[in-house]
Symmetry: C2
Subunit: 168 residues, 2 copies
DNA sequence: ACCATTTAGTTAGGAACCTAACCTTCTTGT
DNA sequence: ACAAGAAGGTTAGGTTCCTAACTAAATGGT
């Protein structure tokens, strides 16, 4: 019985420690953010959509397609369908058929959705700075840099993953 | 109409940039890890449970309570119930009533669950190092440190949050 | 001793993800 | 021109999370 490539018990590779810390921190982050969004009557994912629509309005685009929303939020089409269904039922968002492509649906904010998005946006900077307030500016930039690098790496991994032909 | 505490359009605070990068990276991370776990026929959450049980076996404790599992995985009791239900149905885990506390249930690995956990564990180091392979060792340690600090901060925030009496 | 509270776990119902399979409509190769 | 394939979106069914409300057992104060 040969022991190979195995760390001594309880002493793991630095990569594994960082990996676990990342997972755990995400859990705590989620547990912090969801109640915050709930205080506005929405979820984190819903804020993602509202924010995206608000942004694209500011850039002159009045609406987005489901597919575009999914790509930007890293979520697959069926999830977007459900997300938009609920936002539409809440009166925050509206679907309208695209003129140029009869398969496509355009999503835009309703006036009520726009008001809510602005209300959240006004408080959001506060919330973010509160969550990030343990870090100095230098550390914040370090984190930003590490996250961008990791994201780029994961995107590259995804492209080279087997069984990855036509999807996404 | 006074503009206060608002960043010029599209140029956000460093904290906000890091925050967004963290969220986006998590999305990519999830999209990488879930298919990996799926190749073993389990989910990330299920691996969390199997790993915890494997660890506690190594430390001499043959079983864990639902509540303990939930605390360690940062998940609430009803989620643990469902998670264990499915693992039990898959034959990877078994429930048995505690002798010392008739309210409590002890969860332990079945032989099949133990075999699977070991099989995943053998590949897991590889997978982790592949995900983290963009980082130098120094950067990995930096990430680890930042994550631990952020986790500690979020735990502190949680304790000072209003409406937080007897839960968790 | 006994009643009130706390703790362990479950159930019910809802949101956010996923894959697989499907219908339409657009695009493209011949 | 037209059939094959790609692309936009939905439906079906499953997992993982949540809160609220519940049962049963343990604990603790008087």
């Amino acid at each position: 019985m040969v022991k190979r490539r195995t760390q001594p018990n309880n002493v793991s590779h630095p990569a594994e420690q960082a990996f676990r810390a990342f997972v755990r921190t995400w859990g705590l982050f989620r547990n912090t953010m969801e109640p915050y969004f709930a205080s506005f009557g929405i979820s984190g994912a819903q804020w993602g959509v509202l924010r995206l629509l608000m942004r694209s309005e500011q850039e002159g685009a009045r609406s987005l397609r489901l597919t575009e929303i999914g790509e930007r939020l890293l979520v697959r089409p069926p999830s977007v369908t459900g997300l938009i269904d609920r936002l539409e039922r809440m009166g925050l968002v509206a679907r309208k058929p695209s003129r140029v492509d009869r398969r496509a649906t355009e999503i835009c904010l309703t006036p009520q959705g726009r008001r809510l998005a602005k209300r959240v946006h006004r408080r959001h900077g506060h919330q973010i700075r509160s969550v990030m307030s343990t870090f100095t500016i230098a550390e914040t930039r370090q984190l930003h840099d590490l996250m961008l690098r990791m994201a780029a790496h994961l995107e590259k991994l995804e492209q080279t993953r087997p069984g990855h032909e036509a999807q996404r």
